[in-house]
């Protein structure tokens, strides 16, 4: 008998077998997560290393990797590109949203998926992901909604075995999620169905932040999404930061400091680490680039190879992306102006948000220099 009690019908619906069980187990295994947390060096020591070193040291074949940020906002995409570069294989990807899964699949990086949302809102659904799942290149381990997954991370942050909640009931997600149990509220005299959502413990998480100190205290501006919970839950945590500041800077202005140093295993100074997405307060979303991702690279069969070639092979880091793909210093200045104007930290009157949308009708399949 295994350690956990999965619904056999759900395992059959998902076509999961014995080989998949350890991957399921590890996500909800409090004992091993607690052990990992206990074993970390709890002293405030200098944890700064390079991105290359951090990925090599902490991201291992077969790990459960969480997505963080929100799709294309404050997501550590530059670190994901490094995971691709290092050829790490067999990861389970979990996150909500999980917009960043599709390009990690064709190269064997991600082979198992927890699905909550995949797409870029009105920019389109991810056809590449749709094809990859159907072809068995990635196996869906569970279907989630944003709220139910968020509660799993939150329960882990609080050290709880799980939570009772009211979503998912009556839906088909319950038939395709081996972690969800429908149970009655034990306090009610009348029948009151609830779902029990277990605490979720990923193996490794990378969180991109605005500022960190060398110990791994970290400050975030803008939506936190699930990252405070994930930082506490995950067995291994890499912080990538736009800038490293002296510890006293965070003590003097602690607004937005949400991750305590003891969670962090590695601290990486990584300016523009959220490219090719956006970073609140610092740089705007390259909208045209995302249109091309959703409407071409992740749309046409095989085009994702070109994406890989451009962002992982031809570009060796974020500076290459800025210089070779986005348009260099002009893009940097525009991207800062646009986000600050939209946030209303800069005067927005007269700031032009217009740009030429990348459509499927575009004849220009070549790389465009102006991706604003």
């Amino acid at each position: 008998m295994g350690k956990f009690n999965y619904n056999k019908e759900v395992l059959a619906n998902l076509r999961l077998d014995e080989k998949d069980i350890p991957r399921l187990d590890r996500l909800i295994d409090y004992d091993s997560a607690r052990e990992a947390h206990e074993k970390k060096n709890h002293a405030a020591i200098d944890k700064r290393i390079s991105l290359k070193e951090a990925i090599a040291e902490y991201v291992k074949d077969g790990d459960i990797l969480t997505d963080t940020g929100f799709s294309y906002v404050r997501t550590p995409i530059i670190a994901y590109f490094e995971i691709l570069r290092q050829g790490i294989k067999g990861l389970t990807s979990i996150g909500s949203p999980a917009t960043n899964q599709s390009y990690l699949i064709p190269f064997g990086t991600v082979t198992h998926t927890h699905w909550s949302y995949c797409g870029a809102e009105m920019r389109g659904t991810d056809r590449n992901m749709s094809r990859a799942v159907k072809a068995g290149k990635t196996k869906i381990l569970a279907e989630w909604g944003h709220g139910s997954m968020a509660l799993g991370f939150k329960a882990a942050q609080l050290g709880l075995p799980g939570v009772y909640s009211k979503q998912l009931l009556g839906s088909d997600l319950v038939k395709y999620n081996p972690f969800i149990k429908v149970l009655d509220n034990p306090m009610k005299t009348e029948k009151d169905p609830c779902v029990f959502i277990p605490a979720l413990y990923p193996d490794v998480s990378i969180i991109h932040v605005h500022q960190a100190d060398k110990f791994g205290n970290a400050k975030i501006y803008g939506p936190l999404v699930n990252d405070v919970a994930i930082a506490a839950a995950t067995r291994k945590l890499i912080i990538t930061a736009e800038e490293i500041v002296p510890p006293n800077t965070l003590r003097n202005d602690n607004k937005g400091v949400v991750i305590p140093f003891m969670y962090s295993d590695a601290v990486v100074e990584l300016p523009y680490g959220a490219l090719v997405g956006a970073m609140p307060g610092l740089y705007y979303w390259p909208r045209k680039l995302w249109e091309k991702i959703m409407r071409y690279w992740a749309f046409e069969e095989g085009a994702i190879d070109e994406f890989y070639d451009l962002f992982v092979v031809q570009c060796k880091d974020q500076y290459d992306i800025i210089d070779k793909v986005l348009g260099g210093s002009k893009w940097m200045v525009d991207a800062k102006r646009l986000t600050k104007a939209e946030e209303y930290d800069n005067e927005d009157e007269g700031v032009d948000f217009g740009y030429e949308e990348w459509t499927r009708n575009a004849t220009d399949f070549e790389d465009i220099k102006d991706y604003k």
């Binding site: 809102e121 989630w144 909604g145 939150k154 088909d172 217009g354």
Partner: protein, 260 residues
Amino acid sequence: MTAKPANPLEMIAYVLANQIEDGEVVYIGTGLPMVAGILAKKTHAPNITMVYESGAQNPILGDMPWSVAGPYTWRKSPLILEMPYSFGQLANGYVDKAFLGYGQIDMYGNVNTHMIGSDFHNYKNRLTGSGGNNDLASLSKNLILVGLQSPQKFVKNVDFITSVGHLTGGNSRKEAGLVGRGPKAVITSAGVYDFDPESKRMRIQSLHPGVSPELAQLASGFELLKPAGELPVTPVPTKEVIDILRNEVDPRGVFTSMPS
């Protein structure tokens, strides 16, 4: 000079905006709900508060957000919550209306945003998955569904129940343990639908100008209930409202220009 009449997407945005009453807290999904929320705030409902699933909420009004996590959704917000807390606002009864899209919808307002094709492993196409759809449908006080109407979208049985509406009708939603009142209205390119209070089946409330009951029925894979008597025609936006929509709410037509 008269403005060009509203195109189908602008009409949906306008009708959706009219579902919002002043003073409400509204949970906004991506796309047309964003347009409707901002239009309502700029016209008849200046005192509404918009909440987004990223945890962003209560921005000062700006232009159209490109995404539910874009800066316009938290522009100078007094605070931004974590994702589970924003769903907690729904579950605790602080959100008056939530707006959601659908890939397919059935006569009880059950929604599919998962896949086209009923075989989980051999579908025709995967859609986005739940995102916040299941949470909003499960937890909100009132749910307003919005999308285009065709027999491919209005189906007898959805291929996957991402989000429960009125489940199998009658009292079944409550018996399943869900909270809130379930779907209140469906706004489409053809008309406005509500749900029969007893059977919880979808019912025509009004049809957009030029849409006959026969045409609406042709664009549905299930029987639409019709109330007795003459069916009302959905009011169309005035020139003033169309101007606000085109010039102030979605000036670049991000969500309200018809695909060419």
